[in-house]
Symmetry: C2
Subunit: 409 residues, 2 copies
């Protein structure tokens, strides 16, 4: 596929060029209400206003303060909107009608793009799971016996999913240092990040309507970035026997721009070889695997500390969705799920500080001076990503950023 | 407090008498839209219609297909609505105005009473946790080291919370019998119930707004019954290291009537002694503990198989809420949490079949013939409860019922 050109003069290598066209929710600089927008270069298009002006059939679905109504329309509408946008932005005949509905991205405020239904967090990087096994269960096999048979996951807290830029207050809670006799209550001393990739469900599925791997793109609307903030000390104390709870539930940050799945056709790659062969309901659709060549970058106070490769993930998002629904669980528009921490096999490819600093034992040296085992108050973490697009284009995901504030006593 | 009388002639010992006045959502026999109702005896009052007719200030909040807008108004409104209802139903002067807005409960259809935000499931019965420890981790201490320091909990799936009466399709999934070399996929062979008590948040709390034990009644609107259906074989295989997922997420049934917390003043009891003393943020408010003398009853195909006493719960719902928010997690109107399986110390007081049948090893004899280790297709489970009310009145919770349908292959 050729990269379309636009009358906006967006550079061909702009990560938000016409091959990306991500969706988000913004309010204008002058403070109007939140509305659906499409990013292109340095601009954001007010989608509902443009659709009303040009009598597009999706005007009503776009006229909302979240993406949910548009996402709920399903894949035919998603494709139609995207091809309409491409036509609008490539044909100068539309410039006059559209110009009034374009705003500078630098001037708008971005909001949580969707109303979240359920939030599931997976654990699908073999390298991450094995690293954590080695750190937390030394002397035992790094992966649990089930790990290569199913994508391990759990439900997180939907109500504390926040948009990039939201400040993250260091959580309080119980933790029990190995040396202590009793647990104590205080601010987490081991606050960490997890660089992940998120997926949002557009088209729902009824209870009992198991979604096969091959129907992934009929249900998932798009892709975004996730920082699954983690308080390792809270998590270690509470985790057995029912899994993560308060160590995760204080905040999960997501990037404001949702990249439509359609923009990622050129980023599809074969996932790593799976051994043993997965159960039938988890097998990749023939010739159409959903490995994705997304290249993440994690920055701490502006310094790149990791470049996790999403292509190394053991379980694909299509397998995750098939697993999530194999028991008959329904899907709602706005349900999201995240990949789990993305970690590659090489040095500097781990998506969490607990891995990068070997549980604090080997603190990271920051180029600007100082070291970090875990996050300190005032630290800013940003996660960004890009993927290959058609004809050499770059598909950008923007970033998810958060700054750590001191605990509130 | 005296039990108020009503011009409806409801018997003083009716579990839905004027001391209960639970809230639900119903649609009339003739098929109108879902609306908020209040149960009294064999009747249900259309709350918004009555409020409009009598110019009550809460008419707008009640005029919705879920309880959320009314719950969001906060405790002052909850108290005002309840005292207004008591006045209306006790003073014959209101009969003429209210009669047109009363329907026979037997004729209406009941709906999920709230839009669920997040769903957290706790694990707060010491007897249940110890029973499961003995069954699942024989030879080890029955309770994990953290159990008496904090109310263990995890997030469940909000999107599969269903109202009583919804049929439960036996879930499919992966399980690995100890004798098998590889996991297999199929219908759960160990489908179980968990009799629990649920709490719904009315008044929200912002991120960082930790809710102290003493503020429980300022946030929680009411109480209902929960059947947390559990596929033990799916759960056993997936559970380590991140806790329950598909073994629980296929369905959670809730009773249709939400009993306001105010109706439970006479049911408040001291919880069991806690040793060691809980951390400060988990200590009972002085002189005002939130142990609750709810008496549950579990029936399988009409036969009572268990009578779990809620008063035996180690952690109270006030402690659960304080724990849930100690890390700064926000609360939204419609967030729900469940107590965990209610099990008492005595025989026939366990709230799950895995306990009652000792993991299937000692199947229950059903009076009508047959035995059960776990649920069979066609089985119907109902959980009901009552609590002491003022002046000898009974506070009823109605019931949560579900029938098991065969797996869909």
């Amino acid at each position: 596929m050729r990269v379309p050109q636009t009358w906006l003069g967006v550079a061909p290598d702009d990560p938000f060029g016409p091959a990306t066209l991500p969706y988000g929710v913004f309010s204008p600089a002058d403070g109007g209400r939140p509305r659906v927008g499409v990013a292109v270069g340095e601009w954001v298009l007010d989608l509902a206003a443009a659709a009303h002006a040009l009598d597009a059939p999706f005007a009503e679905a776009a006229d909302a303060p979240v993406l949910n109504p548009l996402m709920a329309r399903g894949p035919q509408t998603w494709r139609a909107v995207r091809s309409t946008l491409t036509a609008w932005l490539s044909d100068p005949a539309y410039e006059e009608a559209l110009r009034p509905h374009l705003a500078q991205r630098s001037g708008v405020r971005l909001h949580l793009p969707f109303e979240v239904g359920d939030y599931v967090d997976f654990y699908s990087s073999e390298h991450h799971a094995a690293n954590l096994g080695r750190i937390l269960r030394p002397g035992q096999p790094p992966l649990t016996p089930n790990w290569k048979h199913l994508p391990i996951g759990y439900h997180g807290r939907s109500g504390t999913v926040v948009v990039s830029g939201t400040e993250i207050v260091r959580p309080m809670g119980q933790r029990k240092p190995p040396s202590a006799e009793r647990p104590e209550v205080g601010p987490s001393a081991r606050l960490d990040v997890e660089a992940e990739v998120g997926f949002v469900v557009g088209a729902p599925a009824p209870r009992g309507g198991r979604v096969p791997v091959s129907a992934f793109a009929e249900h998932v609307f798009g892709v975004f970035l996730v920082n699954d903030w983690s308080a390792r000390d809270l998590q270690a104390w509470e985790n057995v026997p029912l899994g993560p709870f308060l160590g995760k539930s204080f905040a999960t940050s997501v990037s404001p721009w949702v990249v439509p799945l359609e923009a990622l056709e050129d980023a599809r790659v074969a996932p790593p070889e799976r051994d043993p062969e997965p159960q039938e309901y988890l097998r990749d659709a023939a010739g159409e695997p959903w490995g994705l060549d997304l290249r993440l970058e994690v920055r701490l106070n502006g310094h790149t500390v990791s470049r996790p490769p999403f292509s190394a993930m053991y379980w694909t998002p299509a397998q995750q969705l098939a697993h999530l629904t194999v028991n008959g669980a329904s899907l709602r528009t706005g349900d999201i799920y995240a990949s789990g921490t993305v970690s590659g096999p090489g040095p500097g490819e781990q998506g969490s500080l607990i891995e990068l600093s070997f549980n604090g034992a080997e603190p990271l040296e920051l180029p600007g001076g100082g070291t970090r085992g875990f996050l300190e108050d005032g630290d800013t973490v940003s996660i960004s990503a890009s993927a290959p697009g058609p004809g050499g284009a770059v598909i950008g995901f923007g970033e998810v950023v958060g700054r750590v504030l001191p605990a509130q006593g």
